[in-house]
C-alpha cells in the first residue's frame, strides 16, 4: 500500500519527434495504472497533454506507450509492477511517427495488415450452409492460438527489424496472415503466402522474439511467423509459389 504523501517521479514525452521529456510529480495511489498517471497529469496539470485510450480494460488496443523503455498497454500495467523505485518514464511507441506527445500515427501499422492480405476471403456465400470447422483440428488450433490480437502495436514497437527495414510487415500483420493461412474456409491462401514471403515479409524476421516477450495478450507472433516460413517452404517445394 503506497503512503498517501508518496510521489511518482514521472517523465513524460512532450512534443513531436524533436520533443523532450518533461517532469511531473504524481501522487501515488493504490492499484494505480500507468494510464491513471497520464490521465492525472492531463486532468490536473496540463490539459494539452495528448494521449489515446478507450476501453481501459485491455480490449481496444489504443493505449500502448513506452513505459520505462518497454512497450506496454498502459491501462493494464500497474505502476507497482513497473516502477518499484517510483520512477516512471512514459514515451510514445517506438517505430511509428509521433503525432504529438504520447500519440503515434498508426496508419502504416494497419496499412501493413492490408499488404499482408489480412482480410478473410470467403469461399462460400450467405446462401450456403454454415461451415463446420472442427475446433480440435491442428489447423484451427494454430489459428485460434493467434487470433486474440487487439491491434495494440506493442509487438511492432518492440521489433528491431521494423526499425532496420521500414518495409517489413511486422509481427502483428504476419500473425494475422497466419490465422488466415490456417483457416480452412479462406479462399486466398496462395496469394496471401506470396504477399508475406521475402525480404519485407516473414523471411525478414530474425527470431529476436521480443514481440512474443512483450505481447500483452500473450500471443506468439514468433510462432506464427515460423509457421509462415514453413508453409512458404512447403508451398515452394510443391511449386505453388
Amino acid at each position: 500500500m503506497p503512503r498517501p504523501e508518496q510521489l511518482l517521479h514521472t517523465r513524460v514525452w512532450r512534443g513531436g519527434t524533436d520533443g523532450q521529456f518533461q517532469s511531473y510529480d504524481v501522487p501515488r495511489q493504490e492499484s494505480q495504472t500507468v494510464l491513471d498517471v497520464v490521465t492525472w497529469i492531463q486532468r490536473r496539470v496540463d490539459p494539452s497533454l495528448a494521449y489515446r485510450f478507450a476501453c481501459r480494460v485491455g480490449m481496444c488496443g489504443s493505449c500502448a506507450m513506452t513505459v520505462n523503455g518497454l512497450p506496454r498497454w498502459t491501462c493494464r500495467t500497474h505502476v507497482a509492477r513497473v516502477a518499484p523505485d517510483d520512477r516512471l518514464e512514459i514515451a510514445p511507441l517506438a517505430n511509428l511517427p509521433i503525432v504529438r506527445d504520447l500519440v503515434v500515427d498508426m496508419r502504416e501499422f494497419f496499412d501493413k495488415w492490408r499488404e499482408a492480405k489480412g482480410q478473410f476471403v470467403p469461399t462460400a456465400t450467405r446462401h450456403d450452409p454454415i461451415a463446420r470447422v472442427c475446433p480440435d483440428s491442428p489447423a484451427r488450433r494454430a489459428a485460434d492460438a493467434a487470433i486474440q490480437c487487439i491491434g495494440c502495436a506493442v509487438c511492432y514497437a518492440s521489433c528491431d527489424v521494423v526499425a532496420w527495414n521500414p518495409k517489413y510487415l511486422g509481427p502483428a500483420a504476419l500473425n494475422r496472415a497466419w490465422t488466415l493461412v490456417r483457416d480452412e474456409r479462406d479462399g486466398e491462401r496462395r496469394q496471401r503466402l506470396s504477399a508475406v514471403v521475402g525480404d519485407a515479409g516473414c523471411h525478414a524476421c530474425h527470431t529476436h522474439t521480443l514481440c512474443t516477450e512483450r505481447c500483452p495478450m500473450h500471443l506468439s507472433p514468433t510462432t506464427s511467423i515460423a509457421g509462415l516460413k514453413r508453409a512458404a517452404a512447403i508451398a515452394a517445394l510443391r511449386g505453388e509459389l
Binding site: 514525452w13 519527434t17 513506452t66 520505462n68 523503455g69 518497454l70 512497450p71 514515451a91 510514445p92 517506438a94 517505430n95 511509428l96 511517427p97 509521433i98 503515434v104 514497437a157 518492440s158 521489433c159 528491431d160 526499425a163 530474425h206 527470431t207 529476436h208 522474439t209 521480443l210 512474443t212 516477450e213 512483450r214 506468439s220 514468433t222 510462432t223 511467423i225 515460423a226 509457421g227 516460413k229 514453413r230 517452404a233
Partner: protein
C-alpha cells in the same frame, strides 16, 4: 519516430541473434585470410613454414580457440534457425534449444583447446 529502447532488448534470443550475426561477419573476414595463408604453400615451403611459426604465438592460439567457438556457434545457431523454419517455434522449448546450441559450441571450443594443450 523514436527508436526501440535498449532496455527492450535484454533477452536470450536477442543474444543468440547477435552472436550469429557477429560470428558470421568475422568468419566472412577470416576465410579469405585463411585461403591466403594456405596459398603461401604455392610460393614454397619456407614461406608457409614461416607463417606457421608465426601462428604459434599464444595470442594467436587463443584467437584460434575463439574462432573455433564462433564457427561452432554459427553452426549450432544455423541448425536452430533451420529447426525454427521447418519444425516450428515453441515458447516452452526455446530456452532449452538456446542452451543446447551454446553448450555444444562451448564444448567444441573446449575440445579444441584441450587438443592444443
Amino acid at each position: 519516430m523514436i527508436r526501440t529502447d535498449w532496455r527492450n532488448r535484454g533477452h536470450s534470443a536477442y543474444w543468440a541473434f547477435l552472436i550469429h550475426r557477429i560470428s558470421g561477419l568475422l568468419l566472412a573476414f577470416f576465410l579469405p585470410l585463411h585461403f591466403l595463408a594456405l596459398g603461401q604453400a604455392l610460393s614454397g615451403e619456407s614461406a608457409l613454414d614461416a607463417f606457421l611459426a608465426w601462428t604459434e604465438r599464444p595470442l594467436l592460439k587463443l584467437s584460434e580457440i575463439v574462432l573455433v567457438f564462433l564457427l561452432a556457434a554459427h553452426l549450432t545457431g544455423g541448425l536452430r534457425l533451420l529447426s525454427i523454419e521447418f519444425v516450428g517455434w515453441h515458447r516452452e522449448s526455446q530456452k532449452a534449444l538456446l542452451a543446447v546450441a551454446g553448450g555444444v559450441a562451448a564444448f567444441c571450443a573446449l575440445l579444441y583447446a584441450l587438443n592444443l594443450a
